[in-house]
Amino acid sequence: MLLNLLRYNFRQCFISLSRNIGLALASMGIIAISLIILGAFILVAVNMEQMASGLESSVEVAVFLEDDAEEEAVEEELRHLEGVESYTFVSRHEGLEDISRELGDEDLLSEVEGEHNPLPDAFRVSALDAEIVPELAAQIENFTGVEKTDYGGELLNWMLRFGQWVNIISVGVALILIAAAVFLIVTTIRLSLLSRQEEVGIMKYLGASNWFIRFPFLLEGMIIGLVGTLVSVIILVLVYYNLASYLHDLELVFFWRPVTEPAILMPIWVGLLVLGTLIGGMGSLFSLRKFLKV
């Protein structure tokens, strides 16, 4: 009996899909487009997060000491400061070595070594959390013996703000597009209802339950949603993995590699598919709402 019902439902729904193929394709298209945009935003957000956490782990506060400062006293204070994950002492000599290595200028080392070294002694402090870095830097600056502190403040602030904006915009755009998709699906299902209105009326007189009548339409909406989303996921996957491997080779910034872990990406693909199917189902239930009253 269940098999009969399923066969009946699938047949009905493919018949009406093929009758209104134009509108069905339009609905699939808008679902595909909206979920491509939503998916793209999600991918950007995921990568922003990855970037931020990469940055977090690499953000350090450079603490420059005054010339006559006592290294141990500052270290003692750092040890008791909340939010500090670790710190290392960098002597002015080591600092100079680092710089000349980074600049690739060995001569620098010999030229300004010793008394001519302009660098102060310093600590490199890493914070437990990127968000507290500015505060931490301000606190450390008040320590006796500390000349000044420095960190990638600009970039970090920008990243954090940008990440928030990306989230807000993506949610907003996604909502608008989903509303448009639902509207189109409602229209599609309405049309397919209209073309079967007589039949639906007869079904009611024959004692069909509301769910029996609803199901083919629900199925139709869900198939539209699923197919549309499938298209969007395929496009996203193709574009994203190609782009990711391209960017990966470019090695744009040291603290970020495009996210390619299946553990992170799979839930996104599956989530999009589920969402698309739900949107389709919701659209058809919505258009059936006032239709089924006998």
Binding site: M1, N4, Y8, M203, Y205, L206, G207, A208, S209, F212
Partner: protein, 214 residues
């Protein structure tokens, strides 16, 4: 002004009853009340002692599955063959394929259309289409058949055949209620006749009287 008022009726199980009256006197309204397509603004409709207005959705479904409806305009599904149209009545209530394959030919045999199983409705005459409609109504073996102007769209000779078919179904024990304004046929049948006029019950002639007043 209500479509029907002051209607007091009792129809026994196994009766064949004609509802007669001019167009617009409320015959269809009464049929709709019995099917609970609409509910009375006051008063009640009882089926086997139960108020049908109080049925829960599931009970209402069961009640309607126990009623076969026949319409003036046949209401067959044009895209389905005769066989499929009759089978559909069983499909929507979830009957198994085996039961369907057993019951549908029997119902079509009853209305004498066994030879036209694979034909589509628009290839049939009005009378044949109505016989398909009747086969669809009886295929689920209902206790009650409600027919709203079943002979309204067919010629007089076919109308007589249709009425005889209802008589035959009724003899099998099914209660049949037919709304019609085919006076002559009704008078020939010698059955109970309920006459409506302007929404009121004008006359309720018992079976032995069996004629209608125009």
């Amino acid at each position: 002004m209500p479509a029907l008022s002051d209607i007091n009726l009792n129809i026994e199980s196994g009766e064949l009853v004609f509802l007669v009256g001019l167009s617009g006197v409320g015959k269809t309204t009464l049929i709709k009340l019995i099917f609970r397509e609409i509910s009375p603004t006051s008063g009640s409709v009882f089926f086997r002692g139960r108020n049908i207005s109080r049925f829960k959705p599931r009970e209402l479904l069961g009640y309607r599955r126990n009623i076969g409806m026949v319409f003036q305009d046949f209401r067959l599904i044009k895209s389905k063959t005769i066989y499929e149209n009759v089978a559909f009545a069983l499909e929507v209530i979830g009957e198994s394929r085996r039961e369907i394959d057993k019951k549908v030919p029997a119902a079509l045999d009853m209305v004498d259309l066994s030879h036209k199983l694979d034909v589509f409705p628009n290839q049939l005459s009005g009378g044949e289409q109505q016989r398909v409609g009747i086969a669809r109504a009886i295929v689920k073996n209902p206790q009650l058949i409600l027919a709203d102007e079943p002979t309204g769209n067919v010629d007089p000779r076919t109308a007589r055949e249709i009425m005889n078919l209802f008589d035959k179904i009724n003899q099998g024990g099914t209660t049949v209620i037919i709304a019609t304004h085919a006076w002559e046929l009704v008078n020939e049948m010698k059955k109970r006749v309920i006459s409506l006029e302007d929404g009121f019950l004008k006359k309720d002639n018992k079976q032995e009287e069996g004629y209608c007043v125009t």
